[in-house]
Symmetry: C2
Subunit: 507 residues, 2 copies
């Protein structure tokens, strides 16, 4: 094995800190590798042992991120920084200090209780969902809410409980700002959904593709978009995901869903967007792999990149024009007749009960509902027992649909079972950020659809690779949008995009 990345002759404080972070990152990426194996090839009975391996690594990583040696190292680096410091070095230390304070303030006993409650919560959520019975899960959720409230108290930040928990996903976000951003969605999306009811009927969905055919289409898609097998790997897993296992080791996974022949194709586009962002993160000097500046800045920005590739490219009319004959060839017949109907099939604008199957029009309403209910649970004493009722009322109000049971209602998502409060808004932010970045991109490069029609996705990727990916954590999500677009983040570009798309679908 060569050792390209491991510095061995650390003399300055900065070098010692870099080496320390390097080792922590090695452990973190080992953890990710075990997770990847677990979700792609591990046989089911390997699970308990894998759980122990992951717990062992998690303890090692937590210890490294909070021990006295590390605290001294960060403090020494801060005191050596000086007033005339390089802004990148200063920003790195600022981010390390933030994270260190968060790790230090948490009582290790609480960390242990949370881990146990997550395992228990996940197991009970699975049972409750299978039984379509929220009552089975309610005690675990009640406990998890209390533990997360305790966590926020220990963090003792000048933020509300929900906001403290959301920082890990969306740094510097506030609930007031999210309300402000989501209000136009709440107001205008239901009307657009109503409008979509009068769209022409969708082409029949009475076709499917073999795994091998879907695989070939996905492979072609990624090859067109610069997939490099010397640094990338594609696998199958029950739920699609993207992960980075090393500075030159990027993995994405998809699944083949019987009866949903677009699923793997669109998931490939989506996960590839995540992966390209990771591949484009800054890799030089202070931004190098172990430093915070080399990391993705928020889940919202991450999601904006995956949604850009999925929605703005793969679901576009120009893209449908190119791929219609390819799908017809794979299928051996043409159930659409023309590219436009193929494009319609890729864009069913229909409200449904399930978030992960939602289209661009209804997706954010699913998020608004979850955001408001999380706030109620964590900050407004909403009794857990009332969650199903409130969920169903909210669905009816926002999407005009009422779940017939909790499995298709408030038990549908895994997040709360593991206490992931504060995560959902990032999905909606991803849509808003993607649309606002796309508007700027179009100002500079011309309409995306024209570029795609000309077979020119490369300049689009290059624009993101210049403007967005190299920023790393030098800016937070909102700063990134302002830096790139010159405008404050808002829902307007997203709503304008949807309105235009709807008009075009209406023909």
């Amino acid at each position: 094995m060569q050792k390209l990345l491991s510095p061995t002759q650390a003399t300055t404080t900065r070098e010692r800190l870099r080496d320390y972070l390097h080792t922590t990152r090695l452990l973190g990426s080992i953890h990710s590798t075990l997770y990847y194996d677990q979700n792609t090839v591990m046989p089911p009975l390997g699970s308990p042992w894998r759980g122990e391996q992951l717990a062992l690594l998690a303890r090692q990583i937590h210890q490294r991120q909070s021990c006295a040696e590390y605290q001294e190292l960060v403090a020494a680096a801060e005191s050596e920084l000086g007033a005339a410091a390089d802004p990148a070095a200063a920003r790195n230390l600022q981010l390390l200090r933030q994270e260190l304070e968060r790790q230090r303030r948490l009582d290790p006993a609480l960390v242990g209780r949370l881990a146990e409650a997550q395992a228990r919560g996940y197991a009970l959520w699975q049972q409750a969902k299978a039984a379509r019975d929220f009552a089975l899960f309610a005690p675990a959720l009640t406990e998890m809410v209390a533990l997360r409230q305790e966590q926020a108290r220990q963090l003792a930040e000048p933020r509300s409980c929900w906001e403290s928990l959301a920082q890990g996903f969306e740094p510097d976000s506030s609930k007031q700002r999210l309300h402000e951003l989501f209000q136009p969605l709440r107001e205008r999306l239901p009307a657009l959904l109503e409008q979509a009811r009068s769209l022409p009927p969708l082409p029949p969905a009475d076709w499917d593709l073999s795994e091998a055919d879907q695989d070939q289409l996905c492979q072609r898609l990624l090859a067109d978009w610069g997939y490099d097998p010397s640094r990338c790997q594609r696998s199958r897993s029950p739920h699609p995901f993207s992960c980075t296992l090393g500075p030159a080791d990027f993995r994405i996974t998809t699944r083949v869903v019987p009866g949903m022949p677009f699923s793997a194709f669109l998931a490939s586009a989506h996960e590839w967007g995540h992966s390209l962002y990771e591949q484009g993160l800054p890799r030089g000097g202070d931004h190098f792999f172990p430093w915070p500046l080399g990391e993705a800045t928020s889940m919202g920005v991450h999601e904006s990149q995956s949604l850009f590739f999925e929605c703005r490219l793969a679901r576009s009319a120009a893209f449908a024009e190119r791929w219609h004959p390819r799908f017809a060839a794979a299928l051996g017949r043409d159930p659409w007749g023309d590219p436009e109907r193929f494009w319609r099939a890729l864009n069913p604008m229909r409200a449904g009960l399930t978030r992960v199957e939602a289209d661009e029009l209804s997706y954010c309403l699913h998020i608004v509902l979850r955001f408001e209910l999380e706030l109620a649970l964590l900050e407004d004493q909403l009794p857990v027992a009332e969650l199903p009722q409130r969920w169903n009322d909210g669905m009816e109000q926002l999407l005009g649909l009422r779940p017939s049971n909790d499995a298709e209602g408030c038990l549908q998502d895994v997040h709360w079972s593991e206490g992931l409060f504060g995560y959902f808004p990032s999905y909606a932010l991803g849509h808003l950020i993607s649309a606002q970045l796309a508007a700027s991109l179009e100002t500079e490069l011309g309409p995306i659809e024209q570029r795609i029609a000309a077979g020119e996705e490369a300049p689009i990727q290059a624009w993101l690779g210049r403007q967005v990916w190299p920023l790393g954590r030098s800016v937070n999500a909102e700063q990134l949008v302002e830096r790139v677009t010159g405008q404050r983040l808002s829902a307007e570009p997203f709503l304008a995009y949807l309105e235009a798309k709807l008009a075009r679908l209406a023909g």
Copy 2:
């Protein structure tokens, strides 16, 4: 994640030791998981980072196996053991003490120099092999011989240098005993090879199978032999191997070689034999996963199990009878005409230059050559520069063939580039042990061929699962053979088996 295996309330010394070993085993199995990922799916540019991850884990594991805390724990367990101790507990401690002494005696500086020399040696070996030029590799081999001699000196065991190095692969083995075991092979195999020259010509090898077809045949083979997807996983890798990643997580890999359509099939049988041995190791009480008694006892015994499934089952005439129509169906034609000619195709008894492609008749002669040359290099001052000449002379003498260059001569195997001296004899021991166990099995169950013809491989597996696999490290390889067969290990059963097979092939 459930935690089935992790004991948390250790009170006695024995429990503390068990917990300690448990954590060491977790780290070891994480190392194995990274190795598995590296060899099955990791993209090539992931290699440097993976090397660093593996080195970090190796340091952690070495530290745990040699530190003061662990030494005290073993010493305390020994002093608590008492005279009337359970033999299993005593044997576990004996094995732990042996390994601890070996770890302690090694100068950490030497361990580091060895690791570097291995990396360098492997790289130079690759270059030399590609250039077919031993001189490029000679300096690295000279250095490696010197380092291994130093290692043996530090180990300071009452054994010769080569013997000390071989202990890790074949505990308690001695070169005198190996000479004794190999002498009949050296004397009688060349004559058998000569005899094989007058066998009927092989059927034409002008056929091949698609990857998908080979995969289906392998899957069927393993399903017949009890492959359980809830605890096993099959993957592809450049070189076939088997590994255990947890108490219920067993992986095997194969490869598809264009133009060699039996390769994946026979490799599947071979690796499955390794895996079944691992799956059958003792799992109760003192034999539980983290204890030495729960481990394979030697590479020779491991190889005996893989060779049993490959040679005694998959290459047998009765097996060929069953699989001939399946291969013909997969191929869509029958290039053999009858099962007997199919069986001949599975058993080409022809001397060749390459060990890994050798058949049952010539394989052990490749090993005898390597064993004698290792001894000469490590113990008899054979100058490294003379190795190619000695290799080629030995090939001519033992196999009647002379390599035309070093790539097909003394550079063909990877082992010496990493300083793995003492490993090769285990391959030949595997053949001898397999044959001797098979003779006992046949005394009890009747001829293997009859059992196979009746579709009864299950009782054969069950016999091994009763007699061989649960012994773990309670006995060494020779003791295992005596325990199971009532006879001291010898080459006679293997030679008798080969003579009978040859007679049948001739007839």
